[in-house]
C-alpha cells in the first residue's frame, strides 16, 4: 500500500506554512513538536503510521474555513481527523500534509425534543449524544462498537453503523442537517431540523465520503425514544448453515430484530474464555437475536423466534430473563475483538458485506484460505444485514505474517465481491481497501466518483490517497470526448 509521494517542495516550506496556520489558530492550536505529533501518527488501523507535517486544532468554524482556504492557497494537503478510531486508515496523516484535528468541537449546541433532534459539534462522541438526552428517555440510534470514543463528525465521514442498524439505519439515515466547510473555505449548510434537504441530496454524498469532500463543523441528528423493552435470545446451531437458515427464516417471517449477531466456533470460544458469558461451547454457530419495542411485541416475537429456531435445528436456546442476563449475552459479542486479541498477539479485522445466502460458501472458502496460509480466522457477523467481520489471527513479530494476514484479508474481501457483496459494510475504504476498489468498481464507476470529488475539491487537496487507488487530475477527468457523427442507433425504436 503506497501513499502519494510527499512533495519535498511543500515540506521545504514547512516554516512558512506553520506561520500561516499560527496566524489563524493562535497559541497551542498549532502543533509542530515531534513528540506531540506522535499522538496523530495513526488511527485505529495501527499497522500504518506517518507523522503529519504539522497538526492544527481549530476551535471555530471560521478558523476551519480560514485554515482550509490558506492551505488551498498554499497548495497544501489536509487530512481531517475526529477521534482517530477509523479501522481503515481514513485519518492516516501525510508527511507533506496538515492534520486538521476537530477535537475542540465538543459542545452540544441544542437539544430540541419538540422536533426530536439534537444539534452538536462534530467532536462530540457518539455516546455523548445519547447520554445528553438519556434523562428524557431518548437516544441516538447508530451505535458503532467504538461509540464511547468515536465522534459524530467521524461517524458522518464513515457513515458508521453498529449492531442495531438493520432496524434503525446507518448514520446517513439518522442525520437531518450538516454545516460543513469546503476546501476553498466556503461554509455550507445542508438540511436542518426538517426532513429532506432541498436540491440535490448532498448530505447523502457527504455522509460516508471519508473526509474527502469537506470538513463537517456541525451536525443535527434525529433522536429516538428508547424502546420500552429489550430481550435477547441466545441460539446455538450444529452448523453455520443452520444458523444462516434461521436468520433468513426470521426475516422471511417479517421480523426485523433490533440486533441479530452470529459468531463462529473460534469466536465463541475466545469470547467465552474472556468474559464467561455462559455461551455453549459445543455449537458451530451462535446467534444472538435481540427484540426491542413494547413488551407485548417483544414477548410475542420471542416465542416466534424460538419456534423458528427449533424448526431450523437449533440445539441450544436461552431467553434472557433479566436485563443483567441480556447484557451478559451481549458482553461476549461486544468483547469478541479483545477476546481474540488474547489468543493471538495480533489480529486484523475485516469488514465485507455478502448476500446472507452466500454465508456457508464464504465460510467454507475462508477456511480453505486459512488452511493454505496457515493463519487462523474467527468470525463475528452482523447476520441481519450480511456484514461479516472476519478476524485474522497473526503475529506481527514473525517476519512476513502481517503481509500474509493482509493478503488473506484482501482475498476475503475479493470473495465478498465475487459472491455479490461489497468491500466494506461500515469501516470504510480508507487506505486499507483502497487498492481493492477496482475489484468492485469499473474504471467508469470510479471516474464518475472522482468527478464528484472534483466538484467539491478541484485541486484534490482534501485527504488524498484514501478511497481511490489512482489519482487523476480534475482537468483530465472533466474532459469530454464527444463523438461527432451520425445517429448511431438505428435499432432504437423511435416515435
Amino acid at each position: 500500500m503506497k501513499m502519494p509521494v510527499p512533495d519535498s517542495g511543500v515540506i521545504a516550506r514547512r516554516r512558512e506554512i506553520v506561520e500561516a496556520l499560527r496566524a489563524i489558530v493562535p497559541g497551542e492550536g498549532v502543533i509542530v513538536d515531534e513528540n506531540e505529533l506522535r499522538a496523530y501518527e495513526c488511527d485505529g488501523l495501527t499497522a500504518y503510521r506517518q507523522l503529519p507535517m504539522v497538526a492544527v486544532l481549530p476551535s471555530t468554524v471560521e478558523q476551519v474555513s480560514q485554515v482550509l482556504k490558506a492551505c488551498k492557497a498554499m497548495g497544501v494537503k489536509v487530512v481531517p481527523r475526529g477521534a482517530g478510531t477509523s479501522l481503515s486508515g481514513g485519518a492516516l496523516p501525510l508527511a507533506d500534509g496538515v492534520l486538521l484535528g476537530m477535537g475542540k468541537f465538543k459542545r452540544i449546541l441544542d437539544i430540541d425534543y419538540a422536533n426530536r433532534c439534537a444539534t452538536v459539534q462534530p467532536g462530540v462522541t457518539n455516546l455523548g449524544i445519547s447520554n445528553a438526552v438519556a434523562h428524557e428517555g431518548f437516544y441516538y440510534a447508530p451505535d458503532p462498537s467504538s461509540q464511547i470514543a468515536c465522534t459524530i463528525g467521524g461517524n458522518i465521514a464513515e457513515n458508521s453503523g453498529g449492531v442495531h442498524c438493520l432496524k434503525y439505519g446507518l448514520t446517513t439515515n439518522n442525520v437531518l442537517g450538516l454545516e460543513m466547510v469546503l476546501m476553498d473555505g466556503t461554509i455550507l449548510r445542508l438540511g436542518g431540523k426538517h426532513l429532506d434537504a432541498g436540491g440535490y441530496d448532498l448530505m447523502g454524498i457527504v455522509t460516508g465520503s471519508e473526509g474527502l469532500l469537506g470538513v463537517v463543523t456541525e451536525v443535527t441528528v434525529r433522536i429516538l425514544k428508547k424502546p420500552a423493552t429489550a430481550r435477547a435470545v441466545l441460539l446455538g446451531f450444529p452448523s453455520s448453515e443452520q444458523g444462516g437458515d434461521c436468520v433468513a427464516a426470521i426475516i422471511a417471517a417479517g421480523i426485523i430484530p433490533g440486533g441479530m449477531e452470529m459468531m463462529d466456533r473460534p469466536a465463541i470460544h475466545a469470547a467465552e474464555a474472556f468474559v464467561h458469558a455462559g455461551y455453549p461451547l459445543d455449537v458451530e454457530a451462535l446467534l444472538i437475536v435481540e427484540l426491542d419495542g413494547p413488551a407485548a411485541e417483544v414477548d410475542h416475537l420471542i416465542d416466534r423466534v424460538e419456534a423458528i429456531a427449533r424448526d431450523k435445528g437449533a440445539c441450544y436456546a436461552r431467553v434472557s430473563k433479566s436485563e443483567e442476563e441480556r447484557l451478559a449475552f451481549w458482553a461476549g459479542r461486544k468483547a469478541a475483538f479483545p477476546a481474540v486479541g488474547r489468543i493471538s498477539p495480533d489480529y486484523y479485522c475485516m469488514d465485507g458485506t455478502i448476500p446472507r445466502k452466500a454465508l456457508p460458501l464464504v465460510l467454507q472458502r475462508m477456511q480453505e484460505m486459512s488452511d493454505r496460509c496457515g493463519l487462523r480466522v474467527a468470525n463475528v457477523f452482523h447476520a441481519g444485514d450480511g456484514n461479516l467481520h472476519p478476524l485474522i489471527l497473526y503475529d506481527a513479530n514473525k517476519p512476513g505474517e502481517l503481509e500474509a494476514a493482509e493478503e488473506f484479508g484482501n482475498n476475503i474481501l475479493r470473495l465478498c465481491v465475487e459472491v455479490g457483496g461489497v468491500l466494506t459494510g461500515e469501516h470504510g475504504v480508507g487506505v486499507e481497501k483502497r487498492d481493492l476498489m477496482t475489484d468492485q468498481f469499473d474504471e467508469a464507476d470510479l471516474r464518475q466518483q472522482q468527478r464528484l470529488k472534483c466538484a467539491f475539491d478541484p485541486d484534490g487537496l482534501l485527504n488524498p490517497g484514501k478511497v481511490f487507488p489512482t489519482l487523476h487530475r480534475c482537468a483530465e477527468l472533466g474532459r469530454l470526448h464527444v463523438h461527432q457523427g451520425e445517429l448511431r442507433f438505428p435499432d432504437i425504436p423511435r416515435f
Binding site: D196, D201, A252, P294, H382, R447, L480
Partner: protein, 395 residues
C-alpha cells in the same frame, strides 16, 4: 415541445442515445411512464428518452431484503410482487409510474417519519451519465459504505444527473396490522402538540397527520368525514398483539376519541399519502396551486399562520406537522417562502406548465450551495443534455 421519442430497450442503446444527444447537442427529456411529468419544471427538449422499455425485475430475494429491477419497470408490478411475499417499500411512495421515476422524484409518504424516504432505500444504481458513460454506484446488499453513496444523490435528482437503467432497493416486511387513533376538534397548534406527544412516546408511531375541518369533511372514510370537525390521526403498525397493546396504551395517554381498525386505517393513510382532499380543493378553487412545505415539525402551524396573513390557503399536516400540504392562489411563492423563518423549504407540486416554467418550483438555494450543485451537475452532465432546467433554471 417534444418532437421525437427514443425508446431504448437495452442499456447499450441508452448509452448510444445519450452519445448521439451529446454530439448533436440536443437535450433529452428523460421519461419513465411520464406519470410525474407535472413535478419540477417543464423540460425544454426536442427529444424524449423513454426508459419504459427497460422493464423487468432482475432479482428479488425477500430474505436478503433487496430487489433489483430495470429502471422502467412499472411500480404496480413491483408492488404486487412484494405483496405476494408480505413485503413492501417501507417509505410508502405514491402509486403509479416506474421504479426509476419513483427514485428520481425522491418521494415518500406518511411513513417518512419512521422509515425514511426514497433516498434511504435506494441501495444501488446503474445508468448512463450525460457524458454518455455507463456506470454504476452503490451495491446490491443492504449495508454498504464502499465509495461515495451515489444512489442517494440520484434520489430526488429528477433525471438531471443520470439516465437510470437499473436500481436496487431495500425491501422490508409489510406490517401485519395497522390501526389509527383519531382525535377530533383540535386546532392546528393543539393538534401538532398532540402529534408531538405521540411521537415522543415509545410506541413507534408511523403516521402523524392533522386534517383541519374542511379537509376532514372530504375524506372517504366515514369516521373521519363524520367527525364533524378537524381530525388528528396517529397510526400504529406492526404485529397484531403489538398494535393492540400500543393502541390501548396510547389511546389512554392521548385521550383519543376513536380507533380506526385495519381497513379504515389503510384507507385514510392512502388519502393522506395522496394529498387528502386537496386535489378536490384545486378542482373547485379554479386556478389555485398545490405546494408541499417541509419544515421543523413544531413550526408547521406558525408557518401556516404567517402565510395566512396575506394568502387565502387550505392546508393539512403530515409528518407530525413537518409536512404541510397547501393550496394557495397563484403568485404565492414569495409569501410562502417568506414564511419559512424556522427553516425548511417549499415545493410547488401542482401548477400549469407555463407557471412552473416561469417560477422556482423548488426552493431557491443560497448561492454557495447553488454553485456546488452546478458543479455536481457538471460532473455528471457537463453539456446539460439530461433534463435541463427540470429542477432549477440553467441546471
Amino acid at each position: 415541445m417534444t418532437i421525437t421519442t427514443l425508446k431504448p430497450e437495452t442499456t447499450a442503446q441508452v448509452t448510444d442515445a445519450v452519445r448521439w444527444a451529446l454530439s448533436a447537442n440536443e437535450p433529452l427529456e428523460i421519461l419513465g411512464r411520464g406519470s410525474r411529468r407535472g413535478l419540477g419544471r417543464p423540460v425544454q427538449a426536442g427529444h424524449a428518452l423513454d426508459l419504459s422499455g427497460l422493464s423487468g425485475v432482475i432479482a428479488y430475494e425477500p430474505e436478503e431484503l433487496v430487489l433489483t429491477a430495470l429502471a422502467g419497470t412499472r411500480m404496480d408490478l413491483i408492488r404486487s410482487m412484494l405483496a405476494d411475499r408480505g413485503q413492501h417499500l417501507a417509505f410508502e411512495p405514491p402509486e403509479g409510474g416506474t421504479l426509476g421515476g419513483l427514485v428520481a422524484s425522491g418521494l415518500a409518504g406518511p411513513r417518512r417519519i419512521s422509515a425514511g424516504s426514497a433516498r434511504d432505500h435506494t441501495l444501488g444504481i446503474a445508468g448512463v451519465s450525460g457524458r454518455a458513460e455507463a456506470y454504476k454506484g452503490g451495491g446490491k446488499v443492504v449495508k454498504n459504505v464502499t465509495g461515495y453513496d451515489v444512489p442517494k444523490l440520484m434520489a430526488g435528482s429528477f433525471g438531471t444527473l443520470t439516465a437510470l437503467t437499473e436500481i436496487t432497493v431495500k425491501v422490508l416486511p409489510a406490517p401485519e396490522d395497522s390501526a389509527t387513533l383519531l382525535l377530533s376538534g383540535l386546532d392546528d397548534a393543539a393538534a401538532v402538540a398532540m402529534l408531538d406527544r405521540a411521537l415522543r412516546s415509545p410506541y413507534e408511531v408511523s403516521g402523524a397527520a392533522h386534517l383541519p375541518a374542511g379537509i376532514a369533511a372530504r375524506s372517504g372514510v366515514a369516521a373521519v368525514s363524520g367527525a364533524g370537525g378537524a381530525v388528528t390521526l396517529v397510526r400504529l403498525e406492526g404485529f397484531g398483539p403489538s398494535v393492540a397493546a400500543r393502541v390501548a396504551m396510547l389511546r389512554e395517554e392521548l385521550r383519543a376519541d376513536a380507533v380506526l381498525g385495519r381497513d379504515e386505517s389503510l384507507a385514510v393513510w392512502r388519502e393522506v399519502r395522496d394529498g387528502a382532499g386537496l386535489e378536490a380543493c384545486l378542482a373547485e378553487g379554479g386556478d389555485a396551486h398545490l405546494w408541499k412545505l417541509s419544515v421543523p415539525p413544531s413550526a408547521g402551524p406558525a408557518t401556516v399562520e404567517a402565510i395566512r396573513r396575506t394568502r387565502d390557503v387550505e392546508v393539512f399536516y403530515d409528518w407530525g406537522g413537518g409536512l404541510v400540504w397547501l393550496t394557495a392562489p397563484p403568485d404565492s411563492g414569495a409569501a410562502i417562502r417568506g414564511a419559512l423563518s424556522a427553516g425548511g423549504h417549499a415545493t410547488l407540486v401542482r401548477a400549469p406548465d407555463s407557471v412552473r416554467a416561469a417560477t422556482d418550483v423548488f426552493q431557491p438555494l443560497p448561492e454557495p450551495l447553488m454553485a456546488l450543485s452546478r458543479r455536481v451537475k457538471e460532473s455528471f452532465d457537463p453539456k446539460g443534455i439530461l433534463n435541463p432546467g427540470r429542477m432549477y433554471a440553467g441546471l
